[in-house]
């Protein structure tokens, strides 16, 4: 009985074109099963295992390899002298949750970037003092970015933090207000001193000045406000999510672990093939963080309300060029200004109008609703959008790659199943912690 089953098994495997490594694994399972239950059971087991783990082609493996490894290191930001410093991270964490940052005492960063909502807010468009124009982006893994905000209007994480801080429709703070908070709270003053005060650049001179807390006055206040934003940036750099089911597949393929590869869900596997293959999604959602960090117009209307449109990247380029807090400005701690190369070279052209940043797809399951204005409620809606993308709505000079994918219902389900496997299984805890500071001598 067993030899007959083995011959039959060999035939089946030839037909199914299993790889030798895969065959060996399956063989172990099948032979044990065969000894226990006979040929009928053999047939069932072979079909189940093989269907669950068809071999990936070398091309597919290379495509998957480009999306890892994970996590990626967040390199110290040369424009932020407090980047990576524990005291700056502690100060940033405390400020992130502190409603005193807003002059009215009723709004903090965490009001919109809520820990329980993947550091977004679950709304279509953000609500500050009034309803804003864009969706609140989640902050997980934001330290890996190079442009910040849907329009890329900030070229650093600390510049990004300054935008809501100063926007009258959001926290609406001023330099004097933030400086007063940092000077007036003993723990904040201590953490600031430890993280920033060893040396600090004199704006515009490139010279360093010996340790001292910037004194009250407009220049000192502005310096302290930027330091607060840099502390927030140092904290945001730590917001890295852990591995996902996709990362486990990535790692298993890299080490040739067929059993672990086979654990990846079959529908997600089909979706991944669509994502990297016919869908060409990976061209823009590129690399370990599933974004190329650049800007595209994807057929989402940018009319905000009658008579008002969102220019997207075009406005973002104007903003960042005019921003005195950009990486080419006096507030960058990178004396070489090398970190400002992108800002120096960024090109403005008419195709930028209505472009928005390609969002990372990591943890995308947790950040509904979607797109720059939260127009699409579910991942299924997003997939349907790309399946039926209205070509007549796309910018004439836009990305020619965008064509309706014409997905079947089951293909759309598969693509969603794949996207769900990008959800991290672990996240560092993000919560308000009372700051503790040991003054440094």
């Amino acid at each position: 009985m067993v030899p007959a089953a083995t011959v039959w098994l060999a035939r089946v495997l030839r037909v199914l074109r299993a790889t030798p490594a895969h065959l060996a694994k399956i063989g172990q399972v099948v032979l044990v099963t065969a000894l226990m239950a006979g040929p009928a059971s053999v047939a069932q087991t072979v079909a189940t295992n093989t269907a669950a783990a068809p071999a990936w082609s070398e091309q597919e493996k290379r495509a998957i390899a480009r999306h890892g490894p994970w996590p990626q290191p967040v390199l110290p930001d040369p424009s932020n002298r407090a980047s990576g410093k524990a005291d700056a991270i502690a100060l940033g964490r405390a400020l992130f949750f502190d409603v005193r940052l807003s002059p009215k005492g009723d709004m903090a960063c965490a009001s919109c970037h809520q820990p329980g909502r993947a550091l977004a807010d679950g709304r279509d468009r953000a609500h500050g003092r009034e309803r804003l124009d864009r969706n609140t982006p989640g902050l997980w893994n934001t330290g890996l970015g190079r442009w910040f905000g849907w329009d890329g209007g900030a070229d650093s994480l600390w510049g990004f933090a300054l935008r809501p801080l100063l926007n009258p429709l959001e926290l609406g703070a001023s330099a004097a207000h933030v400086a007063q908070l940092l000077r007036g709270d003993a723990a904040y003053a201590c953490l600031h001193h430890n993280a920033f005060d060893s040396t600090w650049l004199q704006p515009g001179t490139g010279a360093t000045k010996a340790a001292q807390v910037p004194r009250p006055g407009s220049a000192g206040d502005e310096r302290l406000m930027v330091d607060a934003a840099k502390a927030l940036a140092a904290f945001m750099e730590t917001l890295q999510s852990g591995k996902s089911a996709f990362d486990e597949l990535h790692d298993a393929l890299a080490r040739g672990d067929a059993a672990a590869v086979a654990r990846y869900p079959e529908d997600a596997r089909r979706g991944l093939r669509l994502f990297t293959g016919r869908g060409q999604c990976a061209v823009c959602h590129f690399g370990p963080n599933f974004t190329n960090g650049e800007f595209h117009e994807v057929g989402i209307p940018y009319l905000i309300e009658k008579g008002r449109v969102d220019p997207g990247r075009q406005g973002g380029i104007k903003l960042v060029r005019a921003d005195k807090y950009n990486l080419l400005g006096a507030f960058s701690d990178d004396a070489s200004r090398a970190s400002g190369s992108r800002t120096r070279h960024v090109a403005e052209n008419h195709a930028n109008y209505g472009q928005f940043k390609t969002p990372s797809l990591r943890n995308v399951e947790l950040t509904a609703p979607y797109m720059h204005n939260g127009r699409l409620a579910t991942l299924r809606d997003v997939v349907r959008h790309y399946s039926e993308i209205p070509e007549d709505r796309l910018h004439q000079d836009g990305e020619a790659l965008l064509k309706p994918l014409r997905l079947s219902e089951s293909e759309a389900d598969d693509l969603v199943a794949f996207l769900v496997t990008l959800t991290s299984k672990t996240f560092p805890q993000v919560s308000a912690v009372a700051p503790i500071c040991q003054p440094r001598k």
Partner: protein
């Protein structure tokens, strides 16, 4: 032609349609004649390790990315040597596009003359994987010569 290994493949830009056999023979003879007459002018732009070479009837561009290989999403510079068949290359402008996607880069390179017939350009960035086409616009003195080179970045 230099082919970078790994994530980068390159190809010179040649005619995209296959011509009639007789035309091919004539064209080959023509190319041989041009090549012979221009051998001395192009000698300075001979292939070098790590460099890519793009050729047009009246100019050769030898260029090397820095850092190499080119990675998607990362800024790079180009060190460029230009040789013209007649006289000297007076200037060169540079750009890159994705022909299939019908768009260029999101960044504008800045070109600076180095020494002799060499230039350097900073501010290139390929923000998507796929086929990119470098375009070198060479001022040969006798006119402008467009030299193209396609490579695939993964």
């Amino acid at each position: 032609m230099t082919h970078n290994s790994g994530a980068l493949t390159s190809e010179g830009l040649v005619a995209t349609q296959r011509p009639h056999r007789a035309m091919r023979v004539l064209a080959a003879a023509g190319v041989a004649l041009v090549a012979a007459s221009c051998a001395s002018a192009f000698a300075a732009c001979d292939a070098k390790p790590g460099a890519m070479r793009a050729v047009s009837p009246n100019a050769v561009v030898l260029f090397q990315p820095r850092p190499a290989p080119i990675k998607v999403g990362e800024l790079f510079a180009l060190d460029v040597e230009v040789c013209a068949t007649k006289g000297e290359a007076r200037g060169v402008s540079m750009d890159a596009t994705m022909p299939e996607h019908k768009h260029g880069m999101n960044y504008k390179p800045v070109v600076k003359k180095s020494a002799g017939n060499t230039w350097s350009a900073t501010g290139f960035m390929f923000h998507m994987p796929g086929r990119w086409q470098f375009a070198f616009e060479v001022d040969t003195g006798a006119g402008r010569e467009r030299v193209l080179h396609i490579l695939t970045v993964e």
